[in-house]
Symmetry: C2
Subunit: 337 residues, 2 copies
């Protein structure tokens, strides 16, 4: 049984320190048992990454391990939760130990960075896929939702948009650029904005992470908050790498905005905040070395034409450049299409 | 976008009543937000079912939906936890709505039976697989573990063993019987022993659910509790259907024991209990219409020959029939072998 399922799980996934931080029982029993402090609520999220859908077959194992955890921690960040514990279900076509070692190195690099503990999992034979279930804590009643954006709230994002989507286009050979690496890195080394999320709980009126593209993820907020949005394209933060490509005329500004607005895989936080709270938030962020970018405004309109048969508002996003409307293709990422 | 990922998730998985029972935010945000009552700890488990490994390609969707949840609830039962919430990550090769409707009907039939609420999930395109992450509550400090079995504790199981394994052998055409259905049903309609588990927290010294076979799952208890076990084969509970097959001489008694001891998929609870507590437990169970079966005894031996290089005891199980040792092949289910 030297190469058995149990040995693999143990060797790669079971680490010491099960008694740490709320973990009463960790890996190695039927369930993990976790202690939730009084005054905190539990935030839970589950995301799968499937080979051929979310990543390429030749993906670097280290980067895959890292990203599998990162996209889940990003969901915790979007609720304002502090990441605590994680379960990992991995399905592997075969036991490739160097691959598994690299996967774990990527996974635990990020887990250690945010003090997240692996408390359970399941290893199965089958087509390669990874499902992570992440758990975090948020002060009771303080979780950031999608349904509370209000008229005139400022729409902000936590960092540059579009690089992940450019990275994907490069991987898919839909685009060709000489300096690929910053975009591939943006696609594969997602940084969950946990520190920012935990700051936002006292300021933001709504929050989401941008996994499927700004327009699609903003639409979730708009639909659940029953409002519209104006986005000022000239205020969209773009990375230096993307600006350089525009400068070199490898991409037009319009193309860059397309990537920024419709591309997925940015994993920046998108949030709304009452105007009067923004200065205080920015000051608090500055102290801890963070920033955010204002990209537009929430609008509640008396707009009966945008009401569907279920009396639910169909949200609209108006994109402008220097106050002139711009027409962008705003279909997001939908892998069943 | 009428057939899009979002619509599918909504139509089949999002049900009303998100405000129920500890669910502050349910499906439809980045995370679910859950309230954990003071005095309770959280039990979490994750299990994947992969097509071709855990179920056959032609599996009935209703039964698959049922079993996907059942195997996870069984893990909660083994900790003595009350099942509360569940997340479902499902990867589908295509959108087959009748199939999805049947899958959900099976899943929610069991969820409703135990008042379990779906609070999140992820739907992805890819090879068929299902990963469920189940969450439950257990009074603080009361969770049933694997590491506390003691010398002379009685070993009990919650119900008949072997039927699931016979069902699997029939499906694999390794066995042929005229009356197949009770065994196929045992394989596919796992009943999580949640009510029993919640009773055991005041009695049992250790507990596990039998997913990989009695011998393999008992070995986990023995290894973690550093002890041995005597199992009396004549006391193993067998179903009426299995007894009938023995009577008809379609199976020998030895074959039936082989299935009972080494076969997986029973999902009965296996627990140890101090002898002096057994009568009281049985009386309490009787009142609520449950029972359990004594099948052996825990033994702590002064046995230096069974200590490995890491000074850990190598547990042994002695199988006897009317006090005579019987040699059984005790390899459990290991799908990487």
């Amino acid at each position: 049984m030297s190469k058995s399922e149990f040995d693999i799980i143990k060797r790669y996934f079971q680490r010491a320190n099960n008694a740490a931080d709320g973990v009463i029982i960790g890996i190695g029993d039927d369930c993990a048992i976790l202690d939730i402090p009084v005054g905190q609520q539990l935030a839970v999220t589950t995301d799968s990454l499937v080979c051929g859908v979310h990543f390429f077959e030749d993906v670097d194992a280290y980067r895959l391990g890292y990203k599998s955890l990162a996209v889940n921690l990003s969901d915790l960040a979007a609720m304002g939760a502090t990441a605590k514990w994680v379960s990992l279900a991995i399905t592997l076509p075969e036991i490739d130990e160097p691959w598994l070692a690299e996967f774990c190195r990527g996974f635990f690099t990020l887990a250690d960075k945010y003090n997240v503990q692996l408390v359970g999992g399941d290893t199965t034979k089958g087509p390669l896929s990874i499902t992570v279930s992440a758990k975090g804590l948020v002060p009771s009643g303080k979780a950031l939702t999608r349904y509370n954006a209000k008229n005139n709230d400022i729409i902000c994002v936590s960092g540059p948009l579009g690089d992940g989507a450019v990275g994907l286009a490069l991987k898919l050979e839909e685009l060709s650029l000489t300096n690929r690496q910053p975009f591939i890195d943006a696609l594969e080394f997602t940084e969950p904005r946990l520190l920012l999320g935990s700051q936002l709980i006292n300021y933001a009126s709504s929050c989401i992470d941008i996994s499927d593209g700004l327009s699609q993820d903003l639409s979730h907020i708009l639909k659940q908050s029953q409002c519209h949005a104006d986005i000022h394209l000239e205020t969209l933060p773009l990375s230096d790498a993307l600006k350089k490509q525009i400068e070199l005329k490898n991409l037009s500004l319009l193309q860059a905005w397309q990537f920024a607005v419709t591309g997925g895989d940015d994993y920046e936080l998108l949030f709304t905040i009452p105007r009067e709270k923004l200065t205080q938030l920015k000051e608090n962020l500055r102290v801890i070395g963070l920033t955010c970018f204002e990209i537009g405004t929430i609008k509640v309109l008396d707009d009966v034409s945008a009401i569907d048969s279920k009396k639910s508002l169909i949200p609209s996003i108006t994109f402008t450049h220097l106050q002139q409307p711009i027409d962008l293709n705003i279909d997001g990422w939908d892998h069943f299409k």
